[in-house]
């Protein structure tokens, strides 16, 4: 089981802030493909990965990062703090 978190417009588009999933995806990218195949709202949110960032266990990482053993994966747009 892995926690998947969504923030900002990704959260709004997918319609929830967090869910728990059973997945066999090896990388973040595989997880994106799995979710996109599941429902249109995921496919819509993940349509342009260049407009997205991801974190594995709260570390900003590239999309080809392994999620093996990870507790938490998060998807969000580029940060706009400060």
């Amino acid at each position: 089981m892995i926690d998947v978190l969504y923030f900002a417009w990704v959260r709004e588009r997918i319609g929830l802030p967090k869910e728990q999933l059973e997945t066999s995806a090896a990388t973040v990218q595989d997880l994106v493909a799995e979710l996109s195949a599941r429902e249109d709202r995921y496919a819509a949110a993940f349509a342009d990965l260049t407009a997205l960032r991801c974190a594995v266990d709260q570390e900003l990482v590239p999309f080809d990062t392994s999620i093996e053993g990870a507790r938490e994966v998060a998807f969000f747009p580029p940060m706009t703090g400060g």
């Binding site: 978190l5 923030f7 900002a8 417009w9 959260r11 974190a55 709260q58 570390e59 900003l60 998060a74 969000f76 747009p77 580029p78 940060m79 706009t80 703090g81 400060g82």
Partner: protein, 146 residues
């Protein structure tokens, strides 16, 4: 190092004074304060979302990177989340060092990395529309300076 992520407002002047008073032998303190700007069209409010847990980790890493890179006595970062209004203070950073060059460079560095590497997202309410603030390519480009 003092890092705070909070929804309540804070007094930047008081934070600056407390930070300065804590320093033992600093000759220079630089602060940056970010303020909600009233955008054209009339901003009525701003909402700041963040990623609890990751936010604190990211800010700590940025602060540690600054401490490793410059000769700093101390670093302060305060960032609000939740609902803000025009003229509200969003965040501040402060740096203390013996000499001014370190404090200036480190504060500039902290802001660049905080902007693009700490998980905060701003949403602006202007009249009837509510929009997520888009990231700027110049903010990402600014990281290459370091």
């Amino acid at each position: 190092m003092d890092i705070r992520v909070q929804d309540v407002a804070f007094d930047a002047g008081q934070m600056l004074n407390e930070f300065t008073a804590r320093q033992d032998n600093a000759g220079a303190v630089v602060s940056f304060t970010g303020i909600v700007r009233d955008v054209a069209g009339g901003l009525s409010s701003m909402e700041i979302e963040h990623y609890p847990g990751m936010t604190e980790r990211a800010l700590e890493k940025i602060a540690q990177d600054a401490m490793a890179r410059w000769n700093l006595a101390d670093v302060l970062i305060i960032h609000r989340h939740g609902s803000l209004e025009p003229k509200d203070i969003i965040m501040m950073v402060a740096t203390a060092s013996k000499h001014r060059a370190d404090a200036f460079a480190a504060a500039d560095f902290l802001m660049d990395f905080l902007k693009s590497r700490a998980p905060f997202w701003k949403k602006e309410r202007t009249g009837d529309s509510v929009d997520w603030v888009a990231s700027k390519s110049e903010d990402e480009d600014a990281l290459k300076r370091w």
